[in-house]
């Protein structure tokens, strides 16, 4: 379990460095950077490369936003195996629902209890 903590730090940090380089060297806005990383995560999963990274680095691969693209594709493919093309639609948010739900719920609660900072 201990090497998992080490690799979570290294791999997670490395993905953030890729994002930082996209912002600094390619002059991309944060929104463009994050969107590109999400698409990259989905593409990596399409070639079966993201799941091994999760097995290896744990949260280092599941916490960066790339895992969002991976999880979307993963859910879609899981359902597609059972129900064919329609499953692509119905399974899309199967794995990611917790991230989206948490963002909406905590975003709303946050808006209720916190005041905007000047």
């Amino acid at each position: 379990m201990l090497p998992m903590f080490f690799w979570a730090f290294i791999v997670g940090g490395f993905i953030c460095v890729i994002g930082q380089l996209m912002m600094d060297l390619l002059k991309m806005t944060p929104a463009h950077t994050l969107s590109t990383l999400v698409v990259s995560g989905a593409v990596l999963e399409a070639f079966g490369l993201y799941e091994p990274l999760i097995d290896f680095a744990g949260a280092g691969a599941t916490v960066p936003i790339t895992s969002f693209g991976n999880a979307l594709l993963h859910g879609a493919m899981q359902e597609a195996e059972k129900h064919g093309i329609i499953g692509v639609m119905t399974g899309m948010f199967e794995v990611t629902s917790s991230g989206i739900s948490a963002a909406i719920i905590f975003g709303f609660i946050g808006a209720l209890i916190f005041k905007p900072k000047a």
Partner: protein, 152 residues
């Protein structure tokens, strides 16, 4: 004269751009991003040890808990300061996604719950969801068709 001044200030801006401390930014991003993922790993371990989750299923609740931390840090104004220091190190982890949602919701609270919070909550984070879903949709479609016709 005026044009010259504008050109000069533009040159100065360009020079400023070139002097962006890329290496320093990358080190900061690495340390902060790595630390956030380390915290995520701690949360994952706690979920596996004390709650009925396995290594495969723990990543979902981990993301939700990280978004919750992000709400607290954003609400108290710490995440914005962290973002100025860490750049991509705080933007790329899912806490950055949470920060984008929560800060948009808080910022537009004054416009009302429906038009303000409801209408703007995904203002900053929406593009991530849209492009994630679009890319996953087409990749899944292609892969499913390839599997069905027996190519892979």
């Amino acid at each position: 004269m005026t044009g010259n001044w504008i050109k000069q200030s533009k040159d100065a801006a360009d020079q400023h751009e070139i002097k962006r401390p890329v290496l320093k930014n990358c080190i900061k991003a690495f340390l902060v991003g790595g630390f956030i993922c380390f915290v995520g790993q701690v949360v994952t371990l706690i979920l596996i040890l004390f709650f009925p989750f396995t290594e495969q299923t723990a990543s979902n609740p981990t993301v939700a808990i990280m978004v919750f931390f992000s709400m607290l840090l954003t609400g108290f104004g710490f995440y914005q300061k962290l973002g100025q220091f860490a750049g991509a190190g705080s933007a790329v982890p899912v806490t950055g996604f949470g920060n984008a949602v929560v800060s948009a919701a808080i910022e537009h609270r004054s416009e009302g719950l429906v038009l303000g919070v409801g209408g703007n909550i995904f203002k900053l984070a929406g593009s991530v969801i849209v492009f994630g879903v679009i890319s996953a949709f087409f990749l899944a479609l292609i892969k499913t068709i390839l599997i069905q016709i027996g190519v892979i």
